[in-house]
Amino acid sequence: MTALLEIDRISKSFRGLRAVQEVSFQVPEGQVVGLIGPNGAGKTTCFNVIAGVYHPDGGEVRFAGRRIDGWRSDQVCRAGIGRTFQLVKPFAGLTVMENVMVGALNCSAGVRQARRKAESVIEQLGLADRALQMASSLTLPDRKRLEVARALATDPRLLLLDEVMAGLRPTETDQMVALFRELNSKLGLTILLIEHVMRAVMALSARVVVLHHGQVISAGTPEAVTRDPAVLECYLGAEAV
């Protein structure tokens, strides 16, 4: 299996704070990889480096064989990486349909085609009955769904999900998990997800990468990672091990 996304020793500091230090991992084509770690571990910084929000201080990001570190986020998106934001950023003054259409225009020849694409994505995410509502009127779980819908509408090869399950009820989480499974198995969509909801991480991920203080401390199957003493220590403290 070839790696669709390769993170090669990337580092990123904010003034004195070394948010990410020499982090390396790979996301194989067609796989779901979970990125976990305690608060402040550098997960979102990692995402933002991949998505083109930050330029890394060192290291390389390769996507489908091309170096993409230093690209702008719109270029990264057009290259085939869709992302969601941990703090949702809906286009509040637009309808759900218009929100998703903006994403769909990325891969559509025109507005009509984008509308059709948006309709099908909205249907998939279970937002059909809210399609004409203003995004500002949505509840938080629906806003999370909208984030996913918008990113999916750009027709990505790799989807970066930043805590899209946070704040969802267990049944809603299960629905989301089922959706990502389907996207992964039927369309072969590769997914890299940051998640605190372990129920989702364990159910979805083939591999899990654990970050702590900006460094990779463990990587492997979900089962192996959860038994790793280093992981237990960073989550529960040394005395728990």
């Binding site: 998505a51 929000v53 702008r72 986020s73 719109d74 998106c77 057009r78 992302r83 934001f85 950023k89 809906p90 286009f91 509040a92 003054g93 637009l94 309808t95 218009e98 259409m101 903006v102 994403g103 225009l105 990325n106 025109g110 507005v111 984008a114 004409l132 509502q133 203003m134 500002s136 009127s137 918008r150 990113a151 750009t154």
Partner: protein, 341 residues
């Protein structure tokens, strides 16, 4: 073609638009020259307000220096006409080009170096001020003493040189307003319109969805500037005199954005409704004051201020959104927006 243009407009809306257009076309038959000049002013503000709205209402970039584009457009076409006898219909292309370049320079400086919000607004003011001071000292264009076009011969209308009666100017500016309205309608239903709205709502999210925000913001400034400059051409040929102190003055920039603010920022009809309300009311007030023998300097400005206050307090979205609901023209979107409050 027609079907595409009217897509997304309700039957009722189309009928009302057609009726309004018919009334505006027939109006010169019924009113005197004074009212025609007032109507020219109204339509002029509706047109430039529409142009400004592209930047602020659609792309979310606040320009407080749009007088720059009016002035550049006015001077470019007027200079070609006075010095070289070039028809304004040819001159207007130079006007648009000059304004577009000016807009591109401001846009490049701002968007390339991440100048946004109020700082962007200040940059636009600064450039209008540069132009005001620069033109004040440019003797080829009359400098601060003003630049004058040969006064119109009212006996015959010369549409090629834009010399003629107020009625002729009225039809010209009406044509511009209609064309501007249609252009904005088409833009808003195209990719560029959706991208502008996305950038207005959240630049980060827009960029994450693959939008080259620098490029689309540049497009907004350039289109808005070129469109505004045509207002300047009309201004020059209608009023026949240009003074840098007036045409580039910040009060002119503010004046032209009041229409869309009162009418409804980001709506297509807002700038037109706002221009009608403000100009018509200000003129009426002027008349009333005159009849009552009250000659208070600056009363018009005070009235503008009060109007703005009322709208900001009672109609924060402008006059048009609630008015369109009252007229039964609201799309489902407006209804839901109301419902969600």
């Amino acid at each position: 073609m027609i079907a595409r243009l009217t897509e997304g407009v309700s039957q009722r809306g189309l009928m009302l638009l057609a009726a309004l257009l018919a009334a505006l076309l027939a109006l010169p038959l019924a009113v005197n020259d004074y009212l025609i000049t007032v109507l020219i002013l109204i339509l002029y503000f509706a047109y430039v307000g529409q142009a400004w709205n592209i930047m602020m209402g659609f792309a979310g970039q606040l320009s407080l220096g749009h007088a720059l584009y009016v002035g550049l457009g006015a001077y470019a076409a007027a200079a070609l006409y006075v010095h070289f006898g070039v028809s304004p219909w040819i001159g207007l292309w130079l006007s648009m080009a000059v304004a577009a370049v000016a807009g591109a320079v401001i846009g490049f400086l701002a968007f390339r170096f991440g100048v946004g919000g109020v700082y962007f607004a200040i940059l636009t003011i600064a450039f209008a001020e540069f132009a005001r001071i620069g033109f004040d000292h440019w003797s080829w264009l009359g400098g601060s003493a003003g630049f004058f076009l040969p006064v119109a011969n009212y006996a015959k209308n010369d549409i090629v040189s834009l010399r003629g009666s107020p009625t002729m100017f009225y039809y010209v500016v009406l044509g511009m307003t209609v064309a501007g309205f249609i252009l904005c309608h088409v833009l808003m239903r195209s990719r560029i319109g959706y991208y502008w709205l996305a950038i207005r709502e959240s630049p980060e999210a827009a960029q994450a969805l693959g939008i080259d925000i620098f490029r689309y913001k540049m497009l907004a400034v350039v289109i808005s500037a070129a469109m505004t400059s045509l207002g300047g051409v009309l201004f020059a040929f209608h009023y026949n005199n240009l003074f840098p102190e007036q045409i580039f003055h910040i009060s002119r920039s503010i004046e032209l954005i009041l229409g869309p603010i009162i009418g409804g920022i980001g709506t297509l009809v807002g700038p037109i409704v706002g221009a009608f309300l403000l100009t018509a009311l200000a003129e009426t007030l002027g008349e009333i004051m005159l009849l009552a023998g009250i000659d208070v300097p600056g009363i018009k400005q005070v009235f503008y201020g009060v109007c703005l206050l009322i709208v900001v307090v009672f109609l924060p979205d402008g006059v048009w959104p609630p008015l369109s609901r009252r007229l039964g023209l609201d799309d489902a979107k407006a209804k839901r927006r109301e419902g969600s409050k």
